[in-house]
Symmetry: C2
């Protein structure tokens, strides 16, 4: 099947996004409204995201576990803000095993409640704390306006849930996850620079006392919330009776946290780095870093191709051999749409001179390289490309974040990117006024860009923008 060209990114960003999702074979819409089918190449990217995040979560001391997808409806009601936040999005099982259930069960939209129930069983003494859990799972939040990866009725994610003896310990751990897991992965692997900050009260997770966020800027200047970490205070500990005996023998409620990142990150990858030729995958993330591409299916060429692929594989590069089906030009286009960082093109004329061509996905740069320098050149190209993809995204973020002093200016700036404005300007009615224009406070920061401890600190600045 011939694929038509992609929609131009500047003409119609949402249509371009859909085209990339379809033509890079990342995902399809599922048969039930709002669900998605993640195709092998999209899932390979998710497996890379999982593996990079999982190793960081384990390094932070949390252990993986698995809790049931079905939660008794009554659990959600125990935390008042939580049930209010999630009720409109719930999917409810009313019949099972051929019978009507006596109590309907909800399909988890998130697992604070059911995990809270078990934390209460497992935590007895201060010696059992901190309890640091994480799960990789699917969750369901019924979406009225679904978009693949960005807002789907079912999505995949990790959700961490921890219990601590003190507020200080909980706050420190939520920050450790936010910086050492999320920020480190998003910046250094996904190559997306983000604003780290605190959500305003109206944007907090339902039931949290503090929500911290990583806000990235997409190619169209809109914001994407890429991962969040919540301090839950004692709200869930009180609702589920998560108590422990302190060192001096008193009974006390725990302080809990939760934190999550999802398949939405794939949407962020597409929109942060993609261009008019399709996806651009940063090398450290890429499930496929190099494709070795024979110009034509010729025995000598194929033998060189296999040799180069073996050499790269031995050097630790994630590599694939293109099988030379169809025209060379068409195959180049397909690998470009998939955003594979490096193409190593091998043709008989180059081979006769002992050379191949190394092509870089992001810049389009192509250089002839002697056969014995392929591995080192590929290595350098991958490093350079990772650095420059991040650097371009940093430039965009800096150029399209504008310091303003009024709500009108903030509103104007949010047409192209973000505005940075004193939070004092937005207290009272300002935040609600911006929301009527679909502009929200993405996060609050101190003037030096650092994370606030409280939203009533003096001198806070708000980063505002439109968002996905």
């Amino acid at each position: 099947m011939a694929e038509s060209a992609l929609t131009n990114r500047h003409d119609d960003f949402p249509k371009w996004y859909q085209d990339v999702v379809a033509k890079a074979e990342l995902a399809d819409n599922g048969p039930v409204r709002g669900t998605m089918v993640i195709r092998p190449y999209g899932y390979a990217i998710w497996e890379r995201i999982q593996s990079e995040i999982d190793v960081r979560i384990k390094a932070a001391g949390a252990e993986n576990a698995y809790f049931p997808i079905f939660i008794p409806e009554s659990y959600l009601s125990r935390e008042a803000e939580h049930v209010e936040g999630f009720s409109p999005e719930l999917a409810v099982v009313t019949h099972a095993g051929g019978e009507k259930l006596t109590e309907p069960v909800v399909v988890r939209p998130t697992s604070e409640t059911v995990i809270g129930e078990f934390m209460a069983k497992w935590v007895h003494s201060h010696r059992d704390l901190p309890l640091l859990l994480n799960q990789w799972a699917n969750v369901v939040r019924w979406e009225m306006r679904p978009r693949v990866f960005l807002r789907s009725s079912e999505f995949l994610w990790q959700e961490g849930h921890t219990a601590h003896a003190t507020h200080e310990d909980a706050a420190a751990y939520a920050r450790q996850i936010h910086y050492d897991v999320y920020h480190d992965f998003i910046r250094n692997v996904l190559a997306v620079p983000v604003y780290l900050g605190m959500k305003t009260q109206s944007e907090r997770f339902a039931g949290a006392t503090n929500t911290m966020t990583c806000e990235g800027m997409m190619g169209d200047g809109k914001a994407l919330q890429m991962a969040t970490s919540h301090e839950l205070g004692q709200n869930f500990a009180k609702a589920f009776d998560i108590t422990f005996q302190t060192e001096d023998g008193q009974s006390a409620h725990c302080f809990t946290t939760s934190w999550g990142a999802s398949t939405r990150l794939i949407g962020g990858l597409i929109m942060a780095h993609g261009d008019d030729d399709g996806l651009v995958v940063p090398p450290r993330l890429a499930p496929l870093q190099v494709v070795v591409l024979p110009v034509r299916d010729d025995p000598e060429v194929m033998s060189a191709v296999r040799q180069i692929a073996d050499d790269l594989r031995r050097a630790g590069v994630r590599v694939k051999v293109d099988q030379a089906r169809g025209s060379f030009g068409r195959r180049v286009t397909d690998w470009e749409i998939k955003g594979v960082p490096v193409r190593c093109e091998v043709g008989p004329r180059d081979l006769a001179e002992g050379k191949v061509t190394i092509a870089r996905r992001d810049s389009g740069e192509k250089v002839p390289v002697p056969l014995d320098a392929v591995v080192s050149t590929v290595h350098d190209t991958l490093e350079t490309q990772q650095r420059e993809i991040l650097s371009r995204a940093e430039t965009r973020l800096a150029e399209r974040t504008v310091d303003v002093t009024t709500i009108a200016e903030a509103s104007a700036a949010a047409k192209e990117g973000f505005a940075r404005v004193s939070f004092d300007v937005l207290r009272g009615e300002g935040e609600a006024q911006l929301r009527t224009e679909a502009i929200t406070v993405r996060c609050l920061q101190r003037a030096d860009g650092s994370m606030p401890d409280r939203d009533d600190e003096p001198g806070l600045v708000a980063i505002v923008g439109r968002s996905y």
Copy 2:
């Protein structure tokens, strides 16, 4: 909390099983009937199972993908046997997003139908075949008599789904998965010897033309079906219109397969190798191969413990340091219940002589070892233990499989283990007669133990027994 001793395995095998699940901290029952909470140590075992099976599936050429958990109710009805088989076990979502759904959706009990729908979209030509997919997911089958890991209303598994141009190619691939993925993993990692064979018509997967199984023998002589691979003929291809253009330009239906293994394997691990002291985990599977155990919390001892753990970790061993909280005897018992293959016990007296004690979980054998021989001794002990755990299970399987010639003898033999009987004895009413005693044909084999191609081949033998 003090743990009481485990129930004796020979006195009450089901109670012993429950005790091991609870005291090794593998799992808890979830709040919704039949669901389970997999605790960190149980989940770490599952992650090892996943990783070993996943690498074999990828080596067999299949790619991971993800399909939605919600399936329109109408999809299941398209394959008559399939809907009949699964209807009694379905969980049904009737309300979502605050509204009654126009068409109820079922929570997937397995994904042949929804994957069939997408195979039909993706397959056009013989060049698109074979299409080799796998997904790691949760599925729901409402259980009337749930048991953690063995029969739970929600469980975790992988399900492979493939489409092929010919019956021969589909049959060969289903066998490749059965031998190179399932049998290789179950025998060489899980250390469980199994009978490989074909299910009778009445035991086939709903919608399959052939189901192949790996049947293991548990400690009480009952069978556990550990993994199955199905040939689905053209049943699902016809129901979902999965067609392709052949090399000579005709349109033809594909032949499909499916194959799965689940968290039930953790139940198999417990029941195949466990003893009166708890779980016994084969070293190649063990998430934790060695625990280094200080006799007491003494600076010199702890320093040696950390050094030994570092040395083992560098040698590629999965190792953990015991934190010396509580009595030494109690800590030994806890690690035994968890089935960690090797304990390296470090005390001040042994250390003064330059020695530590290496203790083997399965045999209980303990030997003093000079410090500079710890790594090599641990390495040898892990190898020996893996071999001998398999060997003991093989002996049991051989000793408790009895050749018989009548249904009465088969019934008597199934009290202690398996019976091997000519399938001719069971054709007609024999199989149904055994089923009234809860005895089933676990699989059919040729007389030489090999896999039959059809159930009407002459000379087949049936392995019969009670089962989980």
